[in-house]
Amino acid sequence: MSAAFASALLVLAVMAAIGAPIAFAMVVSAIAYLLLSGQDVSLASEQFIQSVYDSFLLLAVPLFITAANIMNVGSISDRLLDFCKAAVGRFKGGMAQVDILVSLIFSGMSGSAVADAAGVGKISINMMLKTGHYTPGFAGAVVAASATVGPIIPPSIPMVLYALVSDSSIGYLFLGGVIPGLLMMMMLMAVTSWIAHRRNIPAEQPVPLRQLPGVTLRALPALMMPVILLAGIYGGATTPTEAAAVAALYALLVAGLWYRSLSFRSLYTVFLDSARSSASVGLVIGSALIFNYIVATENIPQSLAQLMASLHLSQGGFLAFTMVLFLALGCLLDATTIILVIIPLFLPTARALGIDPIHFGVVSVVNCMIGLITPPYGMLLFVVNGTTGIPIKDIVREGFPFLVALLAALTVLVFFPELVLWLPRRFGYEG
């Protein structure tokens, strides 16, 4: 590591710590690096512009954001909740189970955990609190924990970003997330059921069976969304980026024409909000890629690979080490930054050790999503706190059993790659 690079890291750490936007902290540190190493400072701008302009793959990001926002504005979430209430409301801790199931279905339509927690999660917290059987902390914890599954079940924005830095196929990454997502859901449902029994949280009034077809029919267009999306990608009809646009169009048609719950005013708000989020995310992505460029010119990944090789780590040892590291960083860093800047550092070593890139990608994304509920910096904690006013410390306290369950799921996924790779292999993945 050169002195210039060390100074740049210091600048980055200080700027981020005093609260500068992460994107600008990265640009500033890149400029500092170029100045100190005597290079042309316009390289930072060049990398920033080119990394945004060159990647067709990244277009999936604004499109998935738009799709999620449309679904949150239309009454799609309400109808899904009705459906899930009819399906699992009859069990102990019914409303909490409803939230987990609705997150699972919603995750098949949106690629974003935050969209899940802020949209459908907010409604289900209100529903839980209205029953009077749930503490606010518990309701918030269920929603935050179940939202982590959103980007594991396809589609997934974090996996698009991983595909970008690792050159792996988004299609196979998406498929690799299906079983892990279901596993995480099962763990969360089991924990909920355990807590519900211990606290004796009653079930909801069961929805009569004869109403079930009607409720299902009302939710059907929304339930079809993941099917259309996945059939499009795996039937070979559309690329994942195109699927994102089709998903947004489908959400628009369902919310606007079928459910008639979308006004021009709300549509404008959807586009403006999506434009803002896209810009903010685009800046983080672009600046993270400038930083990547510097890391690459400094040969950091290769030096790290040599260092790791000298330690004679086994596959398992390496995975355990990186997972603990990502979890620790997840308490402090934004998931986008970890995926774009930290994970690429370890890719050469992972390759050298013969670790499958799809497996490594999926478990790393699961890891980063768990980082969204670990304090002090946990995006989902902020979102639930902000939309409902439930104090973060209550969510964290009640969320502990869920965190343990998710960590258990992660451990199983790390040491049993077959769980990730089985489905992609059925679709022709040769890894």
């Binding site: 403006l272 810009a279 999503m369």
Partner: protein
């Protein structure tokens, strides 16, 4: 003055929303052309990428309040107001200096692209990339204004927004 700014703000917001809507629309045209009409069109890809580039930097320049960015503000929020002001002033100052240092070299870089035309539409590339210069200028002006606020000891806007408002934009994960 405030009204003028509010009007400008509405216009820049509307432009950003329009860019996103156009990006979405052109993408659909591309899909329709490829799968329904069976005539792949090259221009759609170029238009989408240009709109995406402009959306990111236009939005970054005019539509994101400092509080909309992805930030690690745990430390910032845990210190007292006067310290927050020092933090904010240092961050703003460093951002302005760094952007100012790289502005002229970037201007050179962007103008160099006037010799190159885009792949399908033949637009001169320095027009496409010029949005980054506008972005740099806007950020320097924005942080200049913030720096002034911090130095003048005026209450900063940051303190009043809730955690959600600080984090609702900018997270995709």
């Amino acid at each position: 003055m405030t009204q003028l700014f509010a009007g400008l703000r509405r216009m820049t917001d509307a432009a950003a929303a329009a860019m996103l809507a156009a990006l979405f629309g052109v993408f659909l045209v591309q899909i329709a052309a490829r799968y329904i009409l069976n005539v792949p069109m090259g221009w759609t890809v170029e238009v989408c990428l240009t709109l995406w580039l402009w959306l990111v930097f236009w939005g970054g320049a005019f539509c994101l309040r400092p509080s909309d960015h992805v930030r690690f503000d745990v430390l910032y929020l845990s210190v007292k107001r006067p310290t927050q002001r020092v933090f904010g002033a240092v961050a703003a100052f460093v951002i302005i200096v760094a952007f100012a240092i790289s502005f002229l070299p970037t201007l050179d870089y962007v103008s160099f692209y006037k010799i190159k035309r885009s792949g399908t539409l033949g637009i001169r590339m320095h027009y496409v990339f010029s949005i980054y210069l506008l972005f740099m200028l806007a950020i320097m002006a924005r942080y200049g204004q913030l720096l002034f606020r911090f130095l003048a000891g005026r209450p900063d806007v940051e303190g009043k927004v809730t955690a959600y408002e600080r984090h609702d934009e900018g997270s995709i994960t």
